[in-house]
Amino acid sequence: VSQLGSGKPPVGTTAYMARAEHLLRCRSGVQRAEDWLKPSVVMEAFEARSIRMAVACAKNLGKFENPEQGFAELSSDLVEAAVAHCQLIVVSKFIEKLKEVIPGKGVKKQLENLCYVYALYLMHKHLGDFLGMGCITSEQASLANVQIRSLYSQVRPNAVALVDAFNYTDHYLGSVLGRYDGNVYPKLFEEAWKDPLNDSVVPDGYHQYIRPLLKQ
């Protein structure tokens, strides 16, 4: 942030900071819930949130005579700014992935749904940042929630197939609850019988501790 005015362009995942002037002033143009399915709209909201949090920290750091003391004092805010930046990276890489050619019937659509679930859920979870930094309005936040609910309905019929795509064997998964065949309850019983405590019907220790207690 301290180098933004130097003319040296930020690189890599901080490249968006070159558009600081716009991102520090912009307001989201979302008017309908479906607008939250536009990559540019989502990216702008996350970029604006991240840069505004970073700049706010930088401004506050500037109030300290000793930068290291300021860094220590503001460490909680700085951690939040770092989280915002990292979440932006994950969202942007998911969106970039969707720009690739992805073969297969309906595959891309499912990934789009998941991408927006991820982004809008993060927005919902960190709503204080987005609202506090003036990146979106409370009405736009409500529209994001409407959109998430709609996305959940679209993910729902595909949920089991989406986890099947991980292609994990039952051995690797190591879970009775997550068995591929869904035959959970009989297998839970089988597992219970295997426990060493079930080796005998009357437990070790009965004669030593339980019987004397019952017979006192």
Binding site: V11, G12, T14, A82, I89, N167
Partner: protein, 441 residues
């Protein structure tokens, strides 16, 4: 309860081609085919069974892991598996053990920091597992704070040796996987002192145990640090402690690719830039992010399938109860985690590309992108591991009470995963590194 029918119905509802999605998840058809083949190989071999881990004592668990590792090595050689296949086999074995550190840290450290001569000598033995190595950096009093390490390596020009010593209790090496009972060798990080000057932390190859009877060599005190969190889980691993009492190692066992000490005891930095070390960190963190997507996806897979099987409330007029996956409250907790698993997968893929980009640039002496790559991998490691640890626990709750059973797979998955939040740097400390970089930008 006809669980079978439930999931068959669920699979019929899918609106996309699952086989194609498998390729996307795997990263390529090649990667998918290897994973598919090797995971089936492991699953069908009774030596690799793991359903009894929860009831084994620590000693039985450890010995069982040794047995599995030995069997895996035998199969790798019998089937003449490539390095890539062998690595997948160890992955699907799914049991933390000394081999993870041998292949994941010891061998790469020698590759990255050893001279060509050192690589030839040590990697030949390591690749055949004639020696077993670990990576001894962390100390009892200094976790991820490498600058604070206290172990010393003082050069003695009279004998052309380094004297490795633990000057305090807090300088004891503490935590390295494979160190406690198995490793014969270690890459040990110590303060290099020569000619009365301290040149900071450097790596040394140190033999810990006899190759004849496995007993610790003179001056070496080594053992296991004790039982860890969770039943089974990381208790299959012999995380160890290690103290040196003036242990002598030949000068050429200092890893000398980045700097060297001459016969006369003169410290000489090499032409190879030190930034290469940061390149290695980018590599390690990229692996950690990829691991986050794997662990989270396992938890999500369990919670999703069981949410489709489990029915609670909602029955009217004697009808069937509602599948819990149909409740919005369940969806609002589960689907963002499902989406996160995919998100972490793709960001992990991108980090893999970033690592190769950084490596190419470093080879061309271009360090311009390194600080940014270093900061962003630190941040992504922090973000994804924290979210995954929280996500696994959320998945346990999404499975109701049964998620607390060991056989649900979730308790062990959680216990094995949570250390990721504190290795390679505590997550909050790593985020502060990102913040420092952002402020500079």
């Amino acid at each position: 309860m006809e669980g079978d029918d439930h999931l068959a119905d669920e699979r019929n509802k899918a609106e996309f081609d699952v086989d194609d999605m498998k390729i996307v998840w795997a990263g390529s058809r090649h990667a998918f085919e290897i994973s598919d083949r090797i995971s089936s190989l492991v699953a069908s071999d009774s030596f690799f069974r793991k359903d009894h881990r929860g009831v084994l004592s620590r000693k039985e668990l450890f010995k069982n892991t040794l047995k599995k590792a030995a069997h895996a090595w035998k199969r790798i050689n019998e089937l003449r598996l490539s390095e890539e296949d062998a690595s997948r086999l160890r992955f699907f074995m799914d049991e933390p053990s000394f081999v993870d550190l041998h292949w994941g840290m010891f061998v790469p450290a020698i590759k990255g920091q050893g001279t060509e001569e050192q690589q030839k000598k040590w990697l030949t033995m390591a690749n055949r597992m004639e020696i077993i190595g670990c990576y001894a950096q962390t100390e009892l009093g200094h976790g991820s704070n490498v600058q604070g390490l206290e172990t010393t390596a003082t050069f003695d020009p009279k004998s052309d040796e380094f004297v490795i010593h633990s000057p305090t209790l807090t300088s004891a090496k503490w935590w390295p996987g494979g160190l406690g009972k198995v490793s014969t060798h270690a890459v040990v990080y110590a303060r290099l002192i020569t000619d009365g000057e301290d040149y900071g932390i450097h790596g040394f190859i140190v033999q810990l145990r006899s190759l004849d009877d496995h007993s610790p060599l003179p001056g070496i005190t080594v053992g296991d640090i004790g039982t860890k969190f969770g039943n089974g889980a990381y208790n299959s691993m012999d995380n160890g402690f290690l103290m040196f009492d003036h242990v002598r190692v030949p000068r050429d066992q200092m890893l000398m690719r980045l700097s060297k000490v001459t016969r006369e005891g003169k410290y000489m930095p090499s032409d190879v830039p030190r930034q290469l070390v940061y390149g290695t960190m980018v590599f390690v963190r990229q692996k950690i992010v990829a691991g986050a997507s794997v662990s989270l996806s396992r938890a999500v897979c369990i919670a999703t399938r069981y949410s489709a099987v489990r029915r609670q409330f909602g029955s009217q007029n004697g009808g069937r109860e509602t599948q819990v996956i149909d409740y919005k409250t369940q969806q609002n907790r589960l689907f963002p985690l499902l989406a996160s698993a995919y998100a972490f997968r793709f960001v992990g893929e991108w980090l893999k590309w970033l690592y190769s980009d950084v490596t190419q640039r470093l080879q061309a002496n271009d360090f311009s992108t390194l600080p940014e790559a270093h900061a962003c991998t630190a941040g992504l490691k922090s973000l994804t591991t924290s979210a995954t640890a929280d996500g696994i626990e959320e998945c346990r709750k999404l499975c109701g009470g049964h998620g607390y059973l060991w056989c649900s797979g979730l308790p062990e998955l959680f216990a094995v995963y949570v250390p990721a939040c504190t290795y390679e740097g505590d997550n909050v400390v790593l985020l502060l590194q990102v913040a420092r970089f952002l402020m500079k930008t």
